[in-house]
């Protein structure tokens, strides 16, 4: 039991650097927040943007962000509908212009349905797990149920 706890602690310790490394990688890049905070310094950099479209005409979109981001997009065929969630990757250019290389439009209804079906997965798996596994209190471990 003690050995198992020791190994578990070691594995947890090994997990810690992963989100920190991801955080360091993120910090070294220009992010949407950086662009919102200081547009001029971000000119020339490439990054991914996302947000709900609150204003849209054929060339300009305004995304919810903190504060909101209003940019003119180049490379998008048609204006994304207001209310949708736009994710795009592009190069920040002078004059609040982003030249978009890739983009996707997420519809809010579809996202809600996806969230609901996602939420179904957890109780389903929990139910199945305890249907096929039980707790051995002496060994403090899950064991396969006798009937399975």
């Amino acid at each position: 039991m003690l050995r198992r706890l020791g190994v578990a602690c070691l594995l947890l310790a090994l997990l810690v650097p992963l989100p920190i490394a991801a955080g360091v990688l993120t910090e070294s890049r220009v992010t949407q927040q950086d662009v919102v905070a200081d547009y001029e310094s971000s000119v020339g950099s490439e990054t991914r943007f996302w947000g709900r479209v609150v204003h849209s005409d054929p060339v300009t979109v305004e995304l919810t962000a903190t504060p909101s981001l209003r940019v003119r997009l180049e490379g998008i065929e048609s204006a994304p509908p207001v209310g949708t969630r736009l994710v795009f990757y592009g190069t920040v250019e002078d004059g609040h212009v982003v030249s978009v290389s890739e983009y996707v439009i997420h519809h809010p209804t579809k996202r809600r349905v996806a969230l609901v079906t996602s939420a179904l997965a957890y109780p389903l798996v929990l139910f199945l797990w305890f249907r096929y596994w039980s707790v051995d209190r002496d060994d403090v471990a899950f064991v396969v149920r006798e009937s399975r």
């Binding site: 955080g23 079906t117 797990w129």
Partner: protein, 162 residues
């Protein structure tokens, strides 16, 4: 992949087909694989605890995304395998990893603008997974419907076999 349910059913399909071939992979191991399919969702903890809050608490850069990749799957699978009885650990570990990997591979087909976030998560599989074409976006219904249909078919075949 649009949702976690599709990931879980995809892992069921994968592990159930393996279970037909190897009799030692019974239903409990298939279910372990379905649990494994949810491991990369640990990265979704940012919904409950945003990264900036953790950054402030720890004083270091932090991104939950780091727990959604291959290395996190391996470590969390090992952690998960420790919770089962000794005789089952290796099979449960394999099933958890298989489930987690199926999640990562299916997500590689997700159309996501910009690949900057994916390389680290996919490492060292990124040379294989990154060039994969994006064929759906999160929120599309059809991948879930296709996987559910395959899952039901596999369940029916499995019932007939047993």
């Amino acid at each position: 992949m649009p949702d976690s349910l599709a990931h879980v059913v995809a892992a069921y399909v994968l592990l159930q087909v393996v279970a037909w071939r190897f009799s030692s992979y019974g239903k409990p191991i298939v279910v372990a694989g379905m649990v494994g399919a949810l491991i990369p969702d640990v990265a979704k903890l940012h919904i409950l605890l945003p990264a900036p809050v953790v950054e402030t608490a720890l004083g270091v850069p932090f991104a939950w995304r780091g727990l959604g990749g291959l290395w996190a799957v391996l470590l969390l699978s090992a952690l998960g395998a420790l919770t089962v009885a000794r005789g089952q650990r290796s099979r449960v570990f394999g099933a958890l990893v298989a489930g987690g990997l199926s999640h990562i591979v299916l997500d590689a087909f997700n159309r996501m603008p910009g690949t900057v976030d994916r390389s680290a998560a996919l490492y060292p599989l990124h040379p294989v997974l990154e060039p994969l074409p994006g064929i759906y976006i999160s929120g599309d219904y059809w991948p879930t419907l296709v996987i559910l249909a395959v899952g039901v078919s596999v369940a029916v075949i499995d019932r007939r076999r047993s």
